[in-house]
């Protein structure tokens, strides 16, 4: 696929703390495409540097942008650099200029005192909070669905972890004064549909969730203001929940006294109300519910599938894991198709919603070796052995297997 385009104005924000980050590693430097290991469909994707404030990304769609994080980025630490943090937009009318002086966040609806807050009101006028949290697309890994399903054919890079800084949503809602009888808070951003009458992207949370003290309005990630494509100037952060709720360019909060009937809350982003959001293709009569809490995942990041390692010698394995809506309790590996598991050593704990690194080593004899890696979260929920299936390819989190040859 050919990349059209135009001005590259990437990365004027730079990236703090990434430690001499190379854009792509080693021999991949000159690559213009990448092969995603997708079983059902075209594997080749363009690599692009054409997007503002972004380094090399996997191009899934130009407009509205769908940009996947190259997987090797996840080997470089638990925090995903802003300029390689994945991007996903629903509608193509996205403001390209944001003036911080004139921007306003409104709070309206079932409140005592509607608000129109400036960015100064938010940054300097409310308590500042920080939280490390994984942001993951509901459809991350959809490209591995078997049978295939329609939608962005992501590999595993529609996720990232950042240290978010901002204010508590609760503090903003308290300032407006939520009236008795309020049920939900609905969030919308500056993006708009192209076609008149199309449903503006909006998402709602139950009011108790919105006021839990963890849901944030972030104005910074990893110490810098957000890249425009990640939601500058304000983004909702809903720790432990899928990214569909993390509304970008947030400029409108409505407190609702009746259930939100808008398309994106009521009709989109639904999963089967079954364990692991699993069903069989064509299964009838399955109750569908809005996607919600994330589930645990883990990945090997320092070796690629198909790699050759040295037989009879210790080979280091490392990767990342996250617990979803709870912390990482353990990350275990199996070399015998899941019969026996042994624990790995966990890296520093940046908080229960963060990526956490793990490491171990293996010393396999000559021959084929399959490494399975499994995260169990602190609620006791472990990754399943087989991949779930649903018609939208949501909530994949099966145990990953890495096929190696020891020689």
């Amino acid at each position: 696929m050919r990349k059209s385009t135009t001005t590259t104005r990437r990365s004027f924000l730079g990236q703090a703390g990434a430690g001499g980050l190379a854009l792509v590693s080693g021999s991949a430097w000159a690559d213009t495409t990448v092969e995603l290991p997708l079983p059902g469909g075209p594997r080749e994707r363009a690599l692009t540097t054409a997007f503002p404030q972004k380094a090399t990304m996997i191009l899934q769609r130009t407009r509205p942008p769908l940009l996947e994080t190259p997987f090797e980025v996840f080997d470089r630490g638990v925090f995903t650099p802003n300029d390689q943090f994945y991007v996903r937009w629903h509608w193509a009318v996205i403001p390209t200029e944001i003036d911080v002086a004139s921007f306003r966040l409104s709070v309206s609806g079932h409140v005592d005192k509607p608000l129109s807050l400036t960015l100064n009101d938010i940054v300097d006028g409310l308590p500042r909070v920080e939280l490390a949290a994984v942001n993951q697309c509901s459809g991350n890994s959809r490209g591995f669905s078997q049978p295939s399903v329609a939608g962005a054919q992501w590999a595993n890079g529609a996720m990232g972890n950042a240290r978010w800084m901002g204010v508590r949503l609760k503090d903003v809602l308290d300032r407006a004064g939520v009236k008795p009888g309020a049920l939900q808070a609905r969030f919308a951003g500056l993006d708009q549909p192209v076609v008149d009458g199309a449903p503006k992207f909006m998402k709602s949370l139950a009011l108790d969730h919105a006021r839990d003290g963890e849901v944030m309005i972030a104005y910074a990630m990893n110490g810098e203001q957000l890249p425009l494509l990640n939601g500058f100037p304000l983004r909702l952060v809903v720790p432990g929940w899928y990214s569909t709720y993390w509304v970008k360019m947030l400029d409108r909060i409505e407190v609702l006294a009746t259930p939100d009937e808008n398309f994106w809350t009521k009709n989109a982003y639904l999963i089967p109300d079954t364990p692991g959001a699993d069903m069989t293709p064509g299964q009838a009569g399955v109750k569908m519910v809005p996607i919600n809490r994330m589930v645990p995942r883990s990945f090997v990041t320092n070796l690629k599938d198909g790699a050759t390692i040295k037989a009879g010698a210790a080979t280091a394995l490392r990767g990342i894991a996250f617990g979803g809506a709870a912390g990482v309790k353990s990350v275990d590996i199996s070399l015998d198709n899941g019969v026996n598991w042994r624990p790995t050593m966990l890296g520093s704990d940046e908080g229960k919603y963060s990526f956490r690194q793990w490491q171990t080593d293996i010393t396999p004899p000559a021959g084929a070796v399959t490494v399975m890696v499994r995260c169990t979260n602190s609620d006791g929920l472990a990754q399943p052995k087989t991949m779930n299936w649903n018609p939208t390819g949501f909530m994949h989190n099966a145990i990953e297997s890495l096929h190696l040859t020891a020689a």
Binding site: I98, V129, E130, L131, S148, A198, Q225, D349, G351
Partner: protein
């Protein structure tokens, strides 16, 4: 940039390290979300206005006249890339996708064009 929040965050990490050394009593003890010790008047973070350009795509659907309907009706809302990288899907799945574009997302596509688009997708991306 150093501020009270980050100092607080560092302290929490340190606490986590200490916990790790003395042994982790249980999952309930994972660090809580970190907040500033002193919530009044945070200072030192300045947002700057942003102006960017977003790239456009000039990719069209290949196939000559068979692609006329999809090229004329679909590219105003989204570029072709994600469609071209779809796996092969059943014709009913493509019909449902086009129906979603029309009825849920209000794409102004008449029936003749909708049929031509589904036919094109089924021909080029149909389950074999």
């Amino acid at each position: 940039m150093i501020n009270a929040a980050q100092v607080g965050f560092g302290a929490a990490i340190l606490a986590g390290v200490v916990l790790a050394i003395i042994g982790h009593p249980g999952p309930q003890d994972l660090p809580a979300p970190v907040t500033t010790a002193s919530p009044s008047k945070p200072q030192g973070f300045v947002l700057k206005s942003v102006s960017v350009e977003l790239p456009t795509s000039d990719i069209t659907f290949p196939g000559g006249a068979a692609a006329d309907a999809i090229n004329a009706n679909c590219l105003s809302c989204h570029s072709a890339g994600m469609v071209l990288t779809q796996p092969d899907l059943a014709k009913a799945t493509w019909a449902a996708e086009v129906d979603k574009m029309i009825h849920a997302f209000k794409a102004p596509i008449d029936q003749a064009n909708a049929t031509a688009i589904v036919d094109y997708l089924s021909e080029t991306k149909g389950a074999k």
